[in-house]
Symmetry: C2
Subunit: 255 residues, 2 copies
């Protein structure tokens, strides 16, 4: 077991950058997760773990299968340095982001497309919801926050290890799916039919858009059909992650 005591250590500086800088995460294809629940989920995908980081004094659960993993013990100050929470559990994993092959992508038939959603918590909740609903993948278009932002990872509750999350050009993806006769639904307030008019299916894609401005018109023009979730009270709109949940659970075939 390795031990690091200085916050000036090069590896600690790298971790800190992975937590705070999107650029660093994108350049390296790595990210940091924090807390027992998330690390436990990561352990089911051990090939994604570069090393575990454990604050001195923290005991790892005996049942954890940590054979062959590099474990680094760190001081309280280092744990604070790389923690994003006020009350850190003192356990982290330095991970590789998922890689997805062209063959994997070819097989996706139930896809959530996300256009320019800004809030890291919303993106994380949408990834978790897509996972729960049994979707094949989540594709993040231009202007959407980084899927590996610590707040996003926390809100997704481990779903990053269950479902592929990739960046992509949404216009290209719409074409690609439609070429396979997979219908793509947008969400809009005008020229849209009630979402309950669509039959549930094993093959569909749905686009959710920016919290303020919705989906880019260029994308809406290309969909097979745009859907609306009726507002029955006085709220102007629904939270985008809640809307995603309502749509996915309506559209997906449950048996």
């Amino acid at each position: 077991m390795k031990r690091i005591e200085s916050t000036q250590n090069a590896l600690v500086k790298h971790w800190k950058k992975l937590v705070t800088m999107r650029k660093e995460r994108e350049k390296t294809g790595e990210f940091i997760i924090e807390g027992f629940h998330l690390v436990e989920e990561a352990l089911k995908n051990k090939d994604q773990i570069i090393q575990l980081i454990v604050r001195e004094g923290v005991d790892l659960p005996l049942l954890w299968d940590i054979d062959n993993l590099v474990i680094i013990t760190v001081t309280d100050s280092i744990a604070k340095e790389i923690s994003e929470t006020e009350t850190s559990q003192g356990v982290f994993a330095h991970c590789k982001q998922q890689t997805v092959s062209e063959t994997d992508m070819t097989n996706w038939r139930k896809v959530l497309l996300i256009d320019a959603v800004q809030d890291p918590g919303n993106i994380g909740t949408m990834i978790r919801t897509a996972d729960a609903a049994g979707m094949d993948a989540v594709i993040l278009g231009k202007g959407t926050v980084d899927a590996y932002n610590p707040k996003t990872v926390r809100a997704a509750q481990g779903s990053h290890f269950h479902i592929p999350v990739v960046r992509g050009d949404l216009l290209e993806w719409i074409e690609r799916l439609q070429d396979k006769d997979i219908p793509v639904y947008g969400t809009a307030l005008e020229n849209a039919i009630p979402y309950t008019d669509v039959k549930s299916s094993d093959e569909f894609a749905v686009i959710l858009g920016n919290e303020g401005s919705g989906i880019h018109p260029q994308l809406l023009d290309k969909t097979n059909q745009n859907l609306i979730i009726p507002i029955l009270g006085q709220a102007e709109s629904l939270n985008v992650a809640v809307a995603a949940g309502i749509l996915l659970y309506q559209l997906i075939k449950k048996q």
Copy 2:
């Protein structure tokens, strides 16, 4: 127009307490909202506004109906003192919390009950969702965070001014609703039927529970029926606000 320049002013101290302390909000029945969108929603309920607070240099929209309202101009340091956001818009309202009469309560037939939900953002999103779904009221049971927490108010996007949100004893509310033949649904992983098996209706109540432990067993025992939202992928559960959205939009009669 009144102007305050010192952060030591008694009123500024009161505002600051309303932003940071639940006890102060509960003792006084007041709260602070921030930002153009929320203040605009408050203006539709002018009797709830005690005064508007505007940072010097900020122009109020000409269309705002602010006749007869007390407007207080404050310095940048005071605005920072009472702001909960990093980039404040510099416009606030000091408001009274809603009051609800016994007669109002007697007429509620579509009610969202919330048991011990901890995250202020989740509560706010659930209030917004209940509003959007056309519910009559939201009732917060013991152990649920304060509905007037600034994070809750922000997440609710103005729905505090559209739908009654009250504290109450959930056991008493279950009885009260059932006495009027209004079915009360719980959400649970065991002894539950799929939520899609319930017919939509104009009269129902649904309970959502704590993010980690769900609904208290004592409450689950009293429901007419407990419902489950099936998890089709590998996620352990759904975010509680997303679950509320899926359930409310399934249970409520849309026409």
